[in-house]
Symmetry: none
Subunit: 210 residues, 4 copies
DNA sequence: GATGAATGAGCCTTCATTCAT
DNA sequence: CATGAATGAAGGCTCATTCAT
């Protein structure tokens, strides 16, 4: 007559968020379904009402993580117009989003890479999903570069390398973040990134930029 | 009085090598000791004659991997004197050592990072080991830079940034390699790395370099 | 909201009882959890829903055994008032509770002793538990003796030895039971015990008892 | 031409002795063949030159234990003539042979009982061996009693009960020793045994003994 | 819809025994 | 004769998944 209406999507989201917390602490393999259920404050069986397998839960957690990351990320870039400043802001946003004491983001990055690389990894046969995760950021960086060129701030020659520059920048950011996390940050991350960005901007700026 | 004589060290090494193959395919958690034994072509019990635990086997595999990497690496740099060329060679060595079809190295990198980052990871409480693994490469890059400065090829100002430049370079290389592996190399890795190195060298070279 | 309701305590008890049967047949070490599960008619995994380890199962089985023993034991002594008769009844109860064809009690005694004595035994570091198991019986015997003294049936001098007499009696009973079990009862157990009790009672009875 | 002559029996004995030490510390199941070999200071393979199985080693250890026990035992009784004193000496010999700090004897007793009682126990299908182990002591006690009777120190009626008295005495001694070991001797063992013996002797002595 | 009791495949590890030397 | 390297069966235990309620 009056069935309890539950927003299935909301609950899925809640579970995915809980799973994200769990997975980013101990990784996919070491996180048990029981733990996820406990963190999500639902019964173990309930998980299987919303997801078919543990792997599905992981996928949802990854999506959850990406969404949150994007949201936080864009809010950092809002209102910045100058392309050079925008590049710097983008890089620093990456950096600042990694809390050295709770480096959930970095851990999830590694876990995602892991699961995508390894045979038998949860994402191994889903290159599409992985490709998609990365495409967004690349487009964004390219856009900034093209904008700078059209504004005359970056040399026209830069146009020939936008793809390379974007991929390199994102690769660098991921790599330096990993190093920071792995070494428990025994170097000044912000400083290093700023140095990289300065060099980059300098190399693509026209002579008038000096 | 006359027991079977076996070179225990050689056998350890052989097992470690086999374990390396196994671990780099499926990761630590997903690789069972049974599989390791099968790859090493020994009985399951034999593993425990040479190692106390699965974690110990992993450690040995990591060491094995590092050793091999260093060996191959140094052989690439032999006989190169020009600092700029040396930097380029170093970067390309990194790149070329990652076989896109069997990217063992990248996978082990990720696995090692993983085990070092994650709570309960095999390397979690061994930051010393991890730090050590990374220190060698950094020193090497710094040495090349200083050499270039003393030879007047790199600007004296570069001296103030050798640490940063080295860390950034290595971070970049790891990051871009990961991207290459994860995306199954849908960009031209060598080209991207060459571009990065050119930009770097250009930015630290004196005006006469132009 | 509406999960399967199971009386967890009842199930624990049921498993403990099954474990008791298994352990008393083959001992702690030689009984596998698989066997316990089979006897309890549950899955292997289910055991671990109710107990943390095999050792915990053993402990529960021991408690189960003690409880049952006490219950059967007290029912034998009910309604007997005469102290001498009570001593005799107590001894015979011990005896009769050991079925020569299924001498579970004696076997569990030995197993408990074993696990308590041996380095690495499950009960080795729980002297408290063992002490407690034994204290009850001793108190009971002492009470009977004191009762007999106050009724003038046992000599006042007996009072000085109640502790010794009780410990000796219980030691004797355990020892003679073990012999009976070990030798598969090739002597008349009841007769021997009766003889011992008669001698004991005679030695502590006043001259008027003659 | 000149083969090394090794006294196989001596080596067997040496191994059995080492095994005895090992078994009496941790019991049959928990003692590994490797440990026995280590204690015996021989190679693991060597054990199998002298024994067919671990069970055989245990048997030899048991025999070794019994032999030593008897030897020590008889040396205590030498030169005592008075039957009553002899009984007392015999009982105290039992007691004194159990070192409270290294209660090897008691542990071996339990282990032997264990292995004889339990299904699958090493001695389970060897009742003959067990029977034999016990027969010697019983005969000895009976002999003392008969001697006392013929000397007029024990009542003629005692003759009807020599078997019972002997079995009871030995049962008592085993039982009280076990209690002493299990409770880590929290009662005065010698005192209790002396009390038992006094009562026994008193009950079988003629009126003139008073 | 929600739950947690139940399960067995599969994990890492130990160990008695064999056998080449 | 003496050895220890090699082994696989078997052990205790975990955990993703199912299912009755």
């Amino acid at each position: 007559m009056c069935p309890v209406v539950v927003d299935r999507n909301a609950k899925r989201e809640q579970i995915a968020q809980a799973a994200l917390n769990a997975f980013s602490k101990k990784g996919y393999a070491a996180t048990s379904v029981r733990e996820i259920a406990a963190v999500a404050r639902v019964g173990k069986g309930t998980l299987y009402e919303y997801f078919r397998t543990k792997a599905d839960i992981f996928l949802a957690a990854v999506k959850c993580w990406l969404d949150q990351f994007e949201t936080r990320f864009f809010s950092r870039l809002e209102g910045i117009d100058d392309p050079a400043q925008k590049l710097a802001a983008l890089a620093l946003a990456f950096v600042e989003l990694v809390d050295p004491l709770d480096p959930m983001d970095a851990r999830m990055s590694v876990e995602v890479i892991q699961q995508g690389i390894l045979e038998g990894g949860v994402l191994f046969h889903r290159p599409h999903e992985i490709r998609e995760m990365m495409a967004g950021s690349q487009k964004m960086v390219e856009q900034i570069l093209l904008d700078g060129i059209s504004k005359g701030m970056f040399t026209p020659e830069t146009a020939r390398h936008v793809g390379k520059i974007a991929v390199n920048l994102l690769g660098y950011l991921d790599g330096i973040l990993l190093h920071a996390v792995v070494t428990k940050r025994d170097f000044d991350l912000e400083d290093h990134v700023a140095f990289y960005i300065n060099t980059l901007i300098h190399s693509i700026s026209g002579p008038s930029a000096g």
